[in-house]
């Protein structure tokens, strides 16, 4: 019983345990729900899944089901990012416990009951619980924003700090985290308010199906703004998180954090104002640049750091020695690399399409445009997921050859899959319909191969973590002890501060 309790405490109170549970939940959902589309349908696996689990897949409800599935996964990803944030950004222990506890109950409630409602008959009690879960996630977001409040004196940075700070000492990185949290809350309300009109003037839709409609209702625009900015903010959050992980600091950090803060504000304002501002896209472009620029600064900093650390014992390193140092740790290198690669797959596609705008958007079928649109944001979401995996693998203490194999396999196979998906989505630019079959066959195979290996890799990693949980003194036990120690020290420090404050108050009164 004691053994079970210890493991339960590890899984549901420590950062690593909580993240492990959430990653396992996403992996499980992906593994099961992934069988409902793509090649799994062709191989007949979908029919088996539907029959074995007793799913109810009404044709008219498909779009609604997908939206709920996205939301359940999104809530879980948000929870993972929040666990990382409460771990790396200084805050009070009770704040961390409260935020993590509420978001855990929230995402699990929305995940379980959202999927039950969407895929197993429409029991509206489950729908209510799905909404309750999301509300709890939102509430934990409010607590997070409060905990991240940057203008608390105890979080000010001293003069000469290598991290970005204002003249008064306010931590710019904390400001960026705070702004991101507030922007996320605001953006969530756009979705929530629109959702409240569901079946009352608002009908379920997938944004990619409406792209060419000349007139969109305000509710449709609100959803389109909401979904774009939420994914962008998830990307911003992971960029800030890995910045902490790789100890982003110095001159580039001083530039990056104020620019990032500005970018978050402008980008969010642009995406949300799409409801009533005709030229919202211009605001979005203006916001996207200052969001992407800090990411570029981070990549430059982190790669430079890897090279310097890796060649510290060489007096005059050659180009190849520098390259070797850069590529030595695939987890740390891969984090920046995936951000660079994103530009080929997402930003590059956008620019390329803009060049062929007249043909693509004015003549080609909407379905071709839809493939490109859905392709680019699926790739963006999946790239973010790989960066989360890099970070979590590092937190889990992967070392030596396993670390290299894990990291490089993840980089290479994901890039093969995403690169192929990009080529597939843009195929009409270089091959016509009646000659496309060889290209389609090749790219589809590479996508399936890449994604399949990633899933196998994730399964092996999670299998190892599961096996470890059965060991009396496994890695989980060390992580648990270490986290307990850190938390105890933090609480002790807080108690000391509180004592000092109380003493000062008493002295003040007795004067």
């Amino acid at each position: 019983m004691e053994a079970l309790k210890k493991r339960f405490v590890y899984l549901f109170t420590s950062t690593r345990g909580l993240a492990l549970v959430a990653i396992a939940a996403v992996a499980l959902v992906t593994a099961i729900w992934g069988t409902l589309s793509g090649p799994m349908v062709e191989w007949g696996v979908r029919d088996i899944t539907v029959k074995v689990l007793g799913m109810d897949l009404s044709q008219a409800d498909r779009e609604g089901r997908i939206i709920m599935l996205y939301h359940t996964i999104a809530m879980t990803i948000l929870a993972i990012e929040v666990y990382f944030i409460t771990d790396i950004v200084p805050m009070k222990r009770n704040e961390q416990v409260m935020i993590n506890g509420i978001i855990t109950i929230g995402y699990l409630t929305s995940l379980i009951f959202g999927l039950l409602f969407a895929y197993f008959g429409h029991n509206y009690a489950y729908h209510g619980l799905f909404l309750l879960g999301q509300s709890l996630v939102f509430f934990s977001g409010i607590l997070l924003a409060a905990a991240l409040w940057p203008w608390k004196k105890e979080y000010y940075l001293p003069e000469g700090s290598p991290y970005a700070r204002t003249k008064k000492g306010v931590d710019w990185e904390r400001v960026a985290f705070f702004t991101m949290a507030v922007a996320t809350l605001l953006s969530a309300t756009w979705g929530a308010v629109t959702g409240s009109f569901w079946a009352n003037g608002h009908e379920t839709f997938l944004a990619e199906d409406l792209i060419r409609h000349p007139i969109h209702t305000s509710l449709q625009k609100a959803i389109i703004g909401h979904l774009h900015i939420m994914l962008s903010l998830v990307g911003v959050a992971i960029t800030l998180i890995v910045g902490r992980w790789l100890d982003f600091k110095g001159k580039l950090h001083h530039w990056a954090m104020p620019i990032m803060t500005l970018g978050i504000i402008v980008l969010t304002a642009g995406a949300l104002s799409i409801v009533w501002v005709e030229w919202a896209h211009t605001i979005i472009y203006a916001g996207a640049v200052p969001v992407m620029l800090p990411a570029l600064f981070f990549v430059i900093y982190s790669w430079d750091k890897l090279i310097k650390e890796g060649t510290a014992d060489i007096e005059k390193p050659t180009f190849f020695q520098k390259l070797g140092a850069l590529l030595r740790d695939p987890l740390k290198f891969g984090t920046g690399w995936q951000m660079v690669f994103m530009n080929f797959n997402v930003s590059g596609v956008g620019i390329f399409m803009a060049v062929r705008l007249e043909q693509i958007f004015r003549v080609w079928p909407a379905r071709e445009e839809r493939i490109t649109l859905t392709g680019h944001w699926h790739i963006l979401a999946a790239l973010i997921a790989t960066i989360i995996l890099f970070y979590f693998a590092d937190l889990s203490g992967l070392k030596g050859k396993v670390r290299k194999w894990f990291g490089w396999t993840l980089i290479i196979t994901s890039d093969i899959a995403f690169g192929s998906a990009t080529i597939f989505s843009m195929k009409r630019l270089f091959v016509d319909e009646f000659s496309q079959q060889p290209l389609v066959n090749t790219t589809m195979l590479l996508i399936d191969f890449g994604l399949g290996i990633i899933l196998v890799l994730a399964a092996l990693f999670l299998g190892w973590r599961l096996y470890d949980l059965f060991l009396k003194n496994g890695r989980w036990s060390d992580e648990y002890k270490n986290e307990m120690k850190v938390n105890a020290e933090a609480e002790l420090e807080q108690q000391k501060q509180k004592m000092e404050e109380l003493k000062a108050t008493l002295e003040e009164i007795s004067k």
Partner: protein
């Protein structure tokens, strides 16, 4: 050794995929007689029907007739020959434009009087003048000898594809009809039946199987013969018959719509007649052999510029007068 093995597996997989897969322009399938008459029409009576994904009750206050199948290659060849003879259409180089891009294509085409232009955001003006109907290009299932068009025999009863909206519209007009409107098409496809709270998702019901329609990876007869992306099937193919062709036996389900129409889901997208304000796009319904099954649901739409043509887009006509 392990690295070499993994590399070999990877190279083999890529190599397998890169093998010369047949493309549809290179395929000449055997002629398959479906027994369905492409000259037949069906009457859709006036009345209410469930519209769209949310099945909104919608009224069409008149009867109309619609073709039981798509226009076939053979029918279109006959039209081209008649229209060329009467001087309604001509061979030549046709100039099309989109935004600032202007290009020319050789083919057969004719006059279109243009559309009202509102100059809305992203709207392109569809100008009066000669427009391309069918290009002289790979993928057209017609042969041309001087001014006489002939359907490639094996494709004679397949839907006419590689035809622009202008070409589809002209065909229907030539015979005193027109392209169906979206509302008409959907009613003809799904009928009026309500199951639970919803209208039919597919012309034959709620569920779709590979033997119902020709869609991506539906394992139809031609996919079995030529590969995954497949090809169009002859019109009316999914009528419950079992076909035996070149040693391949294929059983179909009778997948007619409530009004007896075939191929209202899959095989090829069908051009529609609506000219909506503030846009130049022409809409299509039905899904094609390239489409995933979800795009075969009766309410799913697609659209393209009227000058677009493709091996997966065809059409059928309607007439207001019930014969």
């Amino acid at each position: 050794m392990r690295r070499i093995t993994l590399s070999l597996i990877f190279i083999t997989l890529i190599g397998t995929a890169c093998q010369s897969a047949p493309n549809i322009s290179a395929i000449t399938p055997p002629y398959v007689d479906t027994g369905v008459d492409p000259d037949s029409w069906s009457t859709v009576p006036a009345g209410e029907f469930p519209l769209g994904q949310e099945s909104h009750p919608t009224m069409i206050g008149y009867d109309f007739q619609i073709m039981v199948t798509d226009v076939t290659v053979s029918q279109y060849a006959e039209y081209l020959n008649s229209a060329l003879a009467s001087g309604d259409i001509n061979f030549g180089e046709f100039t099309e434009e989109a935004g600032e891009e202007i290009w020319s294509e050789e083919g057969v085409g004719g006059y279109y009087p243009g559309d009202p232009f509102q100059d809305a955001h992203h709207e392109e003006e569809v100008k009066a003048g000669d427009h391309l109907y069918v290009p002289f290009s790979e993928g057209v299932r017609l042969t041309r000898d001087g001014e006489i068009y002939t359907a490639i025999p094996e494709y004679a009863n397949h839907p006419m594809t590689m035809v622009t909206w202008f070409g589809a519209n002209a065909y229907c007009k030539f015979y005193g009809g027109r392209l169906p409107l979206e509302l008409e098409w959907e009613k003809a496809a799904r009928g009026t039946e309500i199951v639970g709270e919803d209208g039919l998702a597919f012309p034959w019901g709620e569920e779709i199987h590979g033997n119902n329609a020709n869609f991506y990876s539906s394992f139809d007869l031609f996919e079995k013969m030529f590969g995954k992306l497949g090809n169009t099937t002859p019109v009316g193919f999914y009528n419950g018959q079992t076909y035996s062709v070149d040693g391949h036996v294929y059983e179909t389900l009778d997948s007619a719509s409530p009004y007896g129409l075939y191929d209202m889901a899959g095989n090829d997208w069908q051009w529609l007649g609506d000219d909506y304000p503030d846009q130049h796009y022409r809409y299509m319904r039905g899904g094609s052999f390239y489409s995933y099954e979800v795009d075969l649901r009766v309410w799913k739409e697609n659209n393209a510029g009227p000058q677009f043509y493709s091996p997966q887009i065809g059409f059928r006509c309607v007439q207001n007068e019930v014969k």
